[in-house]
């Protein structure tokens, strides 16, 4: 094969490789989130109530414990699940129960949910139950929001700040 043809062949091979790298290094584009939609993100970490209250050990129970582990109070560490409900314009966006973290289910409950919604004016109600009660909620907040396409609206929760926190741009 003449030298010129070999050289041309090499150039073609390098061009093909360059095209492969040049194209796939940032193409084709990928649509992660519909640009016509806004996104509501419910994200917080919250320690719910313990499942059982502390109680005093009886003398017999204390005596049954190993001498170096004797204590007067029994405080089970397990916490109750956190139930969260988000309503938008009367419709349910989220209605879910979350277990506490940890092998003994004694850690905080971590919640991280993203919900795409149509932009515009909306009425939001956020409710949370973190106690043993069977019905109703321990916390409830509502807000009127106006969302734009691609906007990220965050629903946070801080017990020390009396409940739900809403972020708006």
């Amino acid at each position: 094969m003449p030298k010129l043809r070999i050289l041309l062949g090499q150039i073609v091979a390098f061009i093909l490789f360059a095209l492969l790298i040049g194209y796939f290094s940032n193409s084709p584009s990928y649509t992660y989130h519909d640009p016509e939609m806004a996104l509501i993100m419910v994200s917080f970490s919250h320690a719910s109530e313990h499942k059982e209250k502390c109680r005093r050990f009886t003398q017999e129970e204390i005596a049954a414990l190993a001498p170096n582990m004797r204590r007067t109070m029994d405080c089970p560490r397990e916490r109750v699940p956190v139930y969260v409900e988000i309503m938008m314009d009367g419709n349910s966006l989220l209605s879910k129960s979350y277990n506490p973290t940890g092998l003994a289910k004694d850690g905080s409950t971590s919640i991280y949910e993203s919900i795409p919604v149509k932009p515009g004016q909306h009425q939001l109600i956020a409710r949370l139950r973190d106690s043993k009660r069977e019905g109703g909620f321990d916390y409830e907040s509502s807000i009127s929001i106006s969302l734009e396409p691609k906007e990220l609206f965050i629903i946070d929760f801080r017990k020390d700040l009396d409940g739900f926190l809403f972020s708006e741009r």
Partner: protein
Amino acid sequence: MSALKKILRTGFEHVEDWFDVVFGAKWNPLYQLGALGWFYYWIVVISGIYLYIFFDTGVTQAYKSLEYLTHEQWYAGGIMRSLHRYASDALVVMMMVHLLREFAMDRFRSVRWFAWVTGVPMLWMVFAAGISGYWMVWDQLAQYIAITTAELFDSLPFFGEAIARNFLTDAKLSGRFFTLMVFMHIALPLFLLFIMWIHIQRHASPKVNPPKGLAVGTFCMLLILSFIKPALSQPPADLSIVPTTVNLDWFYMPLYPLLDNVSGITVWIVLVGATALLMMMPWMPPGKRVPVAVVNLDNCNGCSRCAADCPFGAISMEPRSDGSAYEQEAVVNTSHCTSCGICVASCPTATPFRTKTELSPGIELPENKIKELREKTIAASNKLIGGDRVIVYGCDNSLNPAEMSDTKVGVVTMPCIGMLPPSFIDFVLSRKLADGVFLTGCREGDCSFRLGIKWTDARIAGEREPHIRKRVNQERIGKYWAGLTRSKEFFKELTAFRMRLNKLSPMQTESRNDTKENSEKVDA
């Protein structure tokens, strides 16, 4: 599995045919995948050091410093950034093709498991280093990657609070995040280099540099690509806005779209499962373990040629253990030996001319003894009649030359053509067992046992011990490195070789009776 390998190998060899025409065997990129990977790694490191000088670790400064490099300093920083990106992408391509090719060529089982298994963590290192690099830009792509990666980690039941919460608002993000990213982006490639070094530990004279011409060509390609299509940032990250459409680097992020459609746990199962599967592949099923080379101290003078020629560093020279006057002896590391037999050909005692004492060289393969090779050669020769008789020596890893055995062509195969002592060629020609010797095996530049073809060529050319004797007429030696698929070309070359033999002095006609006599003499 073996059918899949054969299909893949055939496919590779057809592409290699084309590359052989264009680049030649020495520059063929498919024979240089590992070396090209190393070359791209160094480009990434050097360009990365330059970028690091100007990179600012801060929530807003990171993006700005890269914009400065890309636009204000486009002639240096911009080019370096593009080289950094494209060489990283090329590294992924080389790595994946290298993995696939080693699988297709079945060069990962039995004692060759080491390079394969040490290569698997390199996949994780390369991808982790690449992805951490994209975070540092802190544009919308980085925002998407940060959130999605954090969500992937959050799917594991080890973390109390969601890591992804760190990317909810700009206020939650601190400059320390970028310091962490810089640390990771430097530490991971350093660790990768360490694993790369381990990866080649069982290879003697590993190929870590591609041929100069190929290196220059591929570097120019990256440089021109950097000028034509410079690497750019996407719009700056803004945590109050959801990144919608992102331009992924598909070499590093092919799994990210999957994360949006299946649970994180599923992705972890896929990743961990694939890693475990890759790790276990050398034993699925285990490769056939052929008895390894054995040193015969009675015939070993400690010349160290076998240690110098072993492609896998399986032979070491150690102090003599048998009280002999020689200082050293060859010792075979059985866990490294691939039973290729290249060491046998390097041994000066592996000569078929030995008739007075038993033909037992200083080192040999128990299942492929030199004595048997001589017997096979003589047996193959005895079937040949007429003129232009040829003995073909081939290897077990390429096309099966036994199929072409006829009254003109006698075939003898061995694990690797590098196992053929050059004295056998002299033996065949001087004893008039044939009119010519034709060598074949794997493709030039791609010996299944790495150096078999290289050493054979050098020995015949008189450039490496043991040399072929000067009395051997080189015109009576032919060779064609056919691999698995070039049977047509092989026959063409063999026919041409026989025609050339016919034009040489008529050795064959006078030799027929001598041959038998010689054979008997040798047998005796």
